[in-house]
């Protein structure tokens, strides 16, 4: 088999194996020097990005992909002697999985490039980059796996790597405290998910998501299922930072290094992916999707409004942006929640699917512009040494590129045309309005408050008399920011590129749990 076929056939496994191997080899390569280590890390992240693109291509061209570890052929999901149960670990990649994997790999690569410059003067850089790669493993694994226990394992890798990265700068113990809080809430959440998995395994003798979904549908939705579903969904809502379980977000994002905050946004989105995957694929056929949809809508409304109003109060640039991350998560929950609430009704085809597409489009847009905003915040802190907006001012005199990148990110998050945030928000407003106009009104008001909040940041940090005599940040940091700025503008002016290749396949995959189940349990021949 030639190398290209090898890569094509094993892309799902390589998406995990490459960054995992990369993480453990990084400290060894660091012995040969910092430059060698950095080249290695960027090469691993670039290859992971390539694999993620390949997965998107495979899913868009050939449909849902399955990869069975240890099977020959690797598509043999149900071996003849297994009693009809998919016994091995199976990666199942549909449009939503590939979409999440691509965002994870892209932000991983961008943050890797950014951190070459931003962490230049820090000690133990090999540990930082090893943890960054492990975080990418966790996110990719959560997105690709079709096994519920495997999902738990990758969630743990995600949480532990993220907590360690949050504490990387120490910051007189504040960062360590934030990491401790993040680790505690994540561990308790993980315990809840483990408990739910035990319930489902006890009931259905299976850990495969498709198998659980099918058996749940055949036997009816029991009280145990209800308990397991609540444990999983509430925990994943907490992990993605939904109000009123968002308290760890400003602490974690606020104290993490700039680049790490950007990748933490995507780490939280991996939990959001989990929330959507469980709601639609595992419980969607059996549970009351209307109740689940309204659960998401209410969490979305609370997150949008409380997130943005709390952001307005902040004068720490990172905490302010963290509250905005909570607020923006609300839009995603709202859009996809409306889709879930209308699933199986005529309204789904009228506006529910469109709301889902808007919510899913907002996921990638948020990863891009909030990633960019956190990188600009990191650039400011890198130069002026403080995150307190009260002590800043006049930075546009000397950090012109950073100022422009900040403006692009700020306009995008505030939903100013023609940036990408406008396109996804428009899709959300015009579809959720049809379920209830109040939802669209709250979303529009939150968008205005977001603009006001970011004008405050721009005025405080960049305008006014020159206070700091500083230089622009290193080129690697500017390059990383320019990548995200480019995609913000591209997806703003040509939204159909993202919608056609990424968003619509993801929305259709979520809305079609039967296709997912059939692909896995059909034998995979």
């Amino acid at each position: 088999m030639n190398p290209w076929d090898l890569i094509m056939n094993n892309a799902p496994a390589l998406a995990i194996a490459i960054p995992l191997l990369g993480a453990f080899v990084t400290p060894l390569i660091n012995r040969a020097g910092r430059k060698a280590m950095l080249v290695w890390v960027i090469a691993v992240l670039a290859f992971t990005e390539f694999i993620a693109l390949l997965l998107v291509y495979q899913v868009n061209t050939y449909g849902i992909q399955v990869y069975v570890f240890g099977a020959n052929p690797h598509t043999l999901t149900v071996p003849p002697d297994s009693g009809g149960i998919p016994v091995r670990i199976i990666f199942t990649i549909d449009g939503m999985s590939a979409f999440t994997a691509l965002i994870s790999a892209t932000l991983g690569l961008v943050v890797g490039i950014y951190s070459v410059g931003s962490e230049k003067f820090q000690t133990a850089q090999e540990k930082f980059f090893a943890l960054l790669l492990l975080l990418v493993v966790g996110m990719m694994g959560m997105a690709l796996t079709g096994d519920i226990f495997n999902f738990f394992v990758f969630l743990e890798i995600n949480s532990l790597a993220a907590a360690a990265l949050v504490s990387y700068h120490l910051n007189k113990g504040k960062a360590v405290e934030a990491a401790f809080k993040y680790a505690v809430v994540s561990s308790i959440g993980a315990l809840m998910i483990l408990f739910a998995i035990a319930i489902l395994y006890g009931e259905y003798d299976a850990l495969n998501m498709a198998m659980i979904a099918q058996r749940m549908y055949q036997t009816g939705f029991s009280t145990y299922d209800m308990i397991a579903m609540t444990l999983i969904l509430v925990t994943l809502a907490m992990k993605c930072g939904a109000v009123p379980m968002h308290y760890w977000v400003p602490d974690g994002y606020g104290e993490a290094p700039g680049g790490t905050s950007a990748i933490l946004v995507v780490a939280s989105q991996a939990s959001l992916y989990g929330l959507f995957r469980m709601s639609f694929t595992v419980f969607g056929l059996s549970a009351n999707t209307s109740s689940l949809g309204w659960f998401m809508i209410i969490l979305g409304l609370l997150s949008m409004f409380i997130g943005v109003t709390m952001a307005f109060l902040q004068h720490d640039i990172k905490r302010l942006m963290a509250y905005h991350a909570v607020s923006q998560t609300g839009y995603m929950l709202l859009g996809v929640g409306v889709g879930l609430a209308t699933l199986g009704t005529a309204a789904f085809n009228q506006y529910g699917l469109y709301a889902m597409e808007g919510g899913i489009f907002h996921i990638i847009n948020h990863a891009l512009y909030k990633g960019l905003l956190f990188l600009t915040a990191g650039a400011i802190i890198y130069r002026v040494g403080t995150s307190d907006l009260n002590k800043m001012g006049g930075l546009a005199h000397s950090m012109k590129f950073t100022a422009v990148f900040f403006l692009i990110g700020a306009f995008a998050i505030a939903g100013i045309p023609p940036f990408n945030g406008f396109a996804s928000k428009l899709m959300i407003y015009e579809s959720v309005y049809q379920l209830n106009p109040f939802l669209a009104i709250v979303a529009a008001i939150v968008s205005m408050l977001t603009l006001a909040s970011f004008l405050k940041v721009f005025h405080s940090a960049f305008l006014g008399p020159k206070i700091y005599d500083v230089k622009e940040v290193p080129k690697s940091m500017l390059f990383a920011m320019s990548i995200l700025a480019f995609f913000i503008i591209l997806f703003g002016i040509f939204p159909n590129i993202a919608i056609h290749y990424l968003v619509a396949p993801a929305a259709h995959a979520l809305a079609n749990p039967l296709g997912y189940i059939t692909k896995v349990l059909g034998g995979g021949a």
């Binding site: 509430v234 059996s286 109740s291 469109y354 006049g394 909040s453 206070i467 056609h500």
Partner: protein, 117 residues
């Protein structure tokens, strides 16, 4: 759907960013033409100066408004709301876990008694 066509069709209308950009650029050009037809003999260097009630600010005075002063009116108007919000955001880990477990319990009750299946 052609991915390179920028028009997106929503349930209530359409959005084309290129049309918006063209209108925006046209507006800028019109604004520039009006600006260029303005008074040529104006004094230069005064327009961007900082004035307090028509006077120049005293020497050494900080002309920059700090972040905590921006949006003061908004936060003052919503003082009861912000008081409640500050009480919720304690920064104590016990409270974080408490909220999580509390929401978990509430959702269990809601799903068990008012739907979920």
């Amino acid at each position: 759907m052609n991915p390179l066509v920028p028009t997106i069709t929503t349930p209530s209308g359409v959005w084309n960013p290129l049309v918006w950009l063209m209108v925006f650029l046209l507006s800028l050009i019109i604004a520039l033409i009006i600006y260029m037809r303005g008074e040529k003999t104006r004094k230069k260097g005064m327009q961007a100066g900082v004035f307090f009630s028509g006077d120049r600010p005293p020497e050494g005075m900080d002309a920059h408004i700090a972040a905590h002063n921006i949006g003061w009116g908004f936060m003052e108007a919503l003082r009861p709301y912000y008081r409640a919000m500050r009480k919720m955001h304690t920064g104590i880990i016990n409270d974080y876990v408490g909220w999580f477990l509390g929401i978990l319990a509430v959702m269990l009750i809601i799903f068990l008694f008012w739907g979920g299946a």
